[in-house]
Amino acid sequence: MNNDPVETVRDTLAGTVGRIPSIATAEAVVGPVREENGRIAIPLASVAAGFGLGLGAGHEGGDAADGDDAPAARGSGGGGGGGGGAKARPVAVVELTENELQVHQVVDSTRIAVASLALAGWCVFWITRTIRAFRRR
């Protein structure tokens, strides 16, 4: 049994992060199946996630094996941090009937619109720069 709280926290978090590769299966992209009027709909998503942590502990003044009475006069401490994030974006809905299979894509129009505006700004910047160079000449 480990009584050091820093080590306990570290072991717990390390175990959690260590389990992620085994739970990152293809089932994560499949949503709940819905069936209505003989039609089955299965939502599909693109998923991404990342987690990380770092923990450490130390004793003041070096090794505790320096003397029998030394550890009582020394301090010890530990700390750490961790973080993570996950993202899921719907990409398609599978429509399934007795005889047919259809995949309806889900297009994120906001994302495309924002990217188009960014591209427009980028083009304006470069074209203006080129025109200025042309005028200076």
């Binding site: 050091d4 080590e7 570290r10 072991d11 390390a14 992060v17 260590g18 992620i20 590769p21 990152a24 299966t25 293809a26 089932e27 994560a28 992209v29 499949v30 199946v33 069936e35 089955i40 299965i42 599909l44 998503a45 693109s46 998923v47 991404a48 996630a49 990342g50 987690f51 990380g52 942590l53 770092g54 923990l55 450490g56 750490g80 990409v91 398609a92 599978v94 399934l96 007795e98 047919e100 299979l101 259809q102 995949v103 894509q105 297009v107 994120d108 994302r111 495309i112 990217a115 188009s116 591209l119 980028w122 083009c123 470069w126 074209i127 720069r129 080129t130 160079a133 042309f134 000449r137």
Partner: protein, 101 residues
């Protein structure tokens, strides 16, 4: 102090398809992506994964098999926009350089 046995770098690109049983047959969803995990002793660890469905295969009870690709038009459009931006910048630089010489 017991250092946990932190795994070395490892990655997995092959992800087995997901299987969903429905009333009209079993649906297999194939994915593209990967899992990366690693760590460094004594207490650093990380794990990343990313997956995207690419193909759906339906195994009907009568033996028929239907396949459909999962399109990713959004990502394709964004890729094309990025390429267009790079092309505009490159062309502008070439024109600018030509004017200077």
């Amino acid at each position: 102090m017991n250092a946990p046995a932190a795994p070395a770098w490892s990655s997995r690109r092959e992800i087995p398809p997901a299987r969903v049983e429905t009333g009209v047959g079993a649906v297999e969803v194939h994915v593209r992506g990967g899992v990366v995990a690693g760590g460094a002793p004594p207490g650093a660890q990380f794990a990343l994964y990313r997956m995207r469905p690419t193909e759906v295969v339906v195994h009907r009870p009568d033996g028929r098999r239907d396949r459909a690709r999962v399109p990713d038009t959004g990502a394709g459009t964004l890729r094309r926009l990025l390429l267009a931006g790079a092309a505009v910048a490159l062309l502008s630089l070439i024109v600018e350089r030509t004017l200077r010489t």
